[in-house]
Symmetry: C2
């Protein structure tokens, strides 16, 4: 006789099978698919998505969840958590009608097309109507989902459960206060040299170096692989098949290198989920902020640190002797940490990055409140870039049109990037306290204790703890910007003297 | 208001989306998947397969098909054919219970594992029980499906609809009569030289040459791509995404080359199906025999012909000058058509190939009849190889264990390989009659008229005509071994003088 919990597991694993199949179709689309196959692939993805949605919104599953919650005492704490988290998602999903989901899907599909056209013409005007439509439908979505204090909270919850725009407001006030002054101070210092990063770095050698980096991080090629795609990403088909992609720019050493480390960080998280929790919340990420903390910790706190390059720089010099033999480690280290305001979020340094996020957050919130209009968005954007970064935006592609997120309907997503960096600093600080020999090990090219710490403290739990609970459990307190500020003060105080 | 036919199309296209998604998962498994991902991938494929099966066996679809057939006068001939062919498959599928399908799936899964183990140990004994189980379950399947003259017909129908074992018996009697004498005669002649094919052919250069071959055939890389896999295959995710795989042996020039041409032939068929018939029988292959006719025609009638290599040989010589500069075209041509009995079906020449098939057919039929036993199969196998090919089988791996087909439950499959060669010869003969300049064009490196002929005569029709109807429509008569015998007599009469 099958228990109710077993029935629940079977249903959830079936849904996971379909969702992971969709992930395979998407991965293949980005990595392999021939140019003229996009229409047929789009319909295959749409069909499977519809089937996954049907399975997940099935009333039978709702009844089963109700019964399991009623009989909670028969469940282990982990089982109960799986049931509760699924029930939360179930009831949330049920608030959106099929009609609404289809309308939203059409809106994002049109917005994507409009964004592509606007990008090609470098003209925001071609994107306005579609973007208006997106924000309208997301306002409607927020209403359907419900919220207490701000419509933004309903949307943010999708990416950063239990976090609120009130908390973001408080956080970003602090960010502004601390980082504006900090960045202004750096601008008064002597700039560091980084031209050696833009010499010719042949593709094949970069590729092998990237694979070595991933292996050294502990990324398991027995349950993963790396490929090339236009935009780097990580995708999981279950914790035994987690893939990363990267891109190679032969005239920009950093382009591939830190994307490898960044995606590697995401992938280690996904590879660290428990196989026995396949399809369950306990083998899923806590939140996008926590996911991003894993990529940022590796990318910045480790991958742009002096100890890390003490371990790897001589090999790098041997790989590209013409470019780097004459460059000392310390010069290299400073170069890869150059601080300079710039137009494009994804190319930003780790200080100015948060201004990019802040601007998007302010715009999203104001649009939801109706205090600004999509029609004025290019102007608003450019004013904010002048105000926060002190730079003029020369055209729409390097301004308002640079990110695709809004076209996909991802409103409330950007702030999780900043949360990721702040969590990363707080976690890495704690890891160094918990494992005194951590930095020495990294300096020796051995990241195993760091990975072990991340596995035990974060990865194996999946969604068992909320982001806030996890952060408190690990570090003894909730998210605190102090750790990020300490990290950048300490680091950049030595780079910009 | 949606017509009944439109509802039918929507259902069939949904099923096609799921089936093509399964094909993507399988392709990825063979081409990309990391080593430790097989368990999770297997369960994803099983889940989607179950969903496709549920969709296709839904009683609603059955009712819809009944109503459409009742109201046949409202349908165009093409629509009616789609309905009739689907109804045939529907009622056939309904004859197999879910319990039976699951049991069969377990049997093939166990047989696959047993075959892998037996191969590793080079010992048929480890495969016997699983194979007995397979033949038992296939006998049961034949009974469930029903048949008139021979249980074999029920199984053959899956691969070669409307063809019977009585027809195969007649055909293979002829094959034996003609080919045994023909092969014996060749053995009395001076053997041709082919050692130059086994020199060192670097992988990269072979790979580029293979891509050029595919392009030259007319394979569209806008709707396809080639990758490496252990065993070459063609797979379709819809006619706008048809992929081929190959393998490269650096010490065997032919291994990749003719697998490229062979799979290219299959792929051109699939790329030639009408997009507007997506998911419908009219965008599917008539039968495996007809599918194989497309690969064999390109592989042998074209790809091993003198005119073809007149077009491509000088480029080949330039690509591998060390191996081929001193080899004249005629020597090369003879070398690639060397006739010699050998142990492995997939490495066989185009004459002895049919003995390999004949032996498998005789064994399958006798096992279904119960006139031989699985226990004796290695002995039976070796006796037949001695009798038909005059060779001793040194071990099980080079004998009874060489093919995986039976482990997958593919009984009644092998004969379609021979049918493919025979149809190919008959079609190619007709193409030359219909297009007098065909061979001259091929000699100039231009295959466009051949492809156009195949597209118009065969590809665009999908399953509209049965194999027999198609053959009669194109050539004025049913399948006739004469064309194959004329082809080999003419060709080998000049090679083995």
């Amino acid at each position: 006789m099958r228990t109710k919990y077993q029935s629940f597991v079977i249903t959830m694993q079936k849904i996971a099978d379909v969702e992971h199949s969709i992930a395979v179709l998407n991965w293949d689309k980005e990595v392999n698919a021939p140019p003229n196959s996009s229409a047929v692939r789009a319909r295959q993805i749409a069909t499977l998505s519809g089937m996954a949605h049907e399975l997940f919104t099935d009333d039978q599953l709702g009844l089963l969840l109700d019964e399991l919650i009623k009989d909670a005492s028969s469940l282990s704490p982990k089982q109960l958590k799986n049931v509760e988290l699924t029930a939360k998602r179930f009831h949330k999903t049920k608030k959106l009608s099929k009609e609404f989901v289809e309308r939203r899907s059409k809106a994002t599909s049109s917005a994507y097309d409009a964004w592509i056209k606007a990008r090609a013409a470098n003209d925001f005007a071609l994107y306005k109507d579609a973007l208006k439509n997106i924000f309208e439908i997301k306002r409607e979505e927020a209403k359907l989902l419900g919220w207490k204090e701000h419509a933004y909270d309903a949307l943010l919850d999708e990416f950063e459960p239990d976090y609120t725009s009130a908390q973001l407001d408080t956080l970003f006030v602090e960010v502004k206060k601390e980082l504006v002054a900090f960045a202004a101070n750096i601008r008064t210092k002597q700039q560091v040299e980084d031209s050696f990063l833009y010499k010719f770095y042949p593709k094949d050698k970069q590729w092998s170096f990237g694979l070595d980096i991933l292996k050294n991080m502990g990324y398991d090629f027995g349950t993963g692989r790396q490929d090339i795609s236009t935009h780097p990403f990580t995708t999981s088909f279950g914790s035994s098949d987690v893939r990363v992609t990267t891109r190679v720019d032969e005239h920009n050493f950093g382009s591939m290198t830190w994307s490898c480390i960044h995606e590697g960080g995401h992938a280690l998280y996904e590879q660290g989920f428990l196989e026995e929790e396949y399809g369950m919340p306990l083998s899923k990420a806590v939140s996008l902020g926590i996911h991003e903390s894993q990529s940022r910790l590796w990318e910045n706190n480790v991958g742009r640190s002096l100890p890390y390059w003490k371990a790897h720089y001589s090999k790098l010099q041997d790989t590209f002797p013409g470019n780097l033999k004459a460059i000392e480690l310390n010069t290299f280290y400073k170069g890869i940490n150059r601080i300079e305001p710039s137009l494009i979020r994804t190319e930003s340094d780790e200080i100015h990055y948060h201004f990019h996020v802040l601007i998007r957050y302010e715009i999203e919130k104001a649009l939801l409140e109706g205090t600004i209009e999509v029609d004025d968005l290019d102007k608003v954007w450019n004013e904010k870039y002048k105000a926060y970064l002190g730079i003029d935006v020369p055209d729409d592609n390097r301004g308002i049109l640079q990110d695709i997120h809004w076209a996909f309907g991802l409103i409330g997503y950007f702030p999780t990037y900043s949360l990721g960096s702040f969590y990363a600093a707080q976690f890495f600080d704690q890891a160094k306290k918990d494992v005194p020999e951590l930095v020495e090990q990294i300096k020796d090219g051995d990241n195993s204790k760091l990975l072990q710490w991340l596995r035990e403290k974060i990865h194996v739990h999946g969604m068992f703890y909320s982001a806030d609970e996890l952060c408190k459990k690990i570090t003894g307190e909730g998210l605190n910007l102090k750790y990020f500020m300490d990290y950048v003060r300490e680091k950049y105080g030595k780079i910009y003297i």
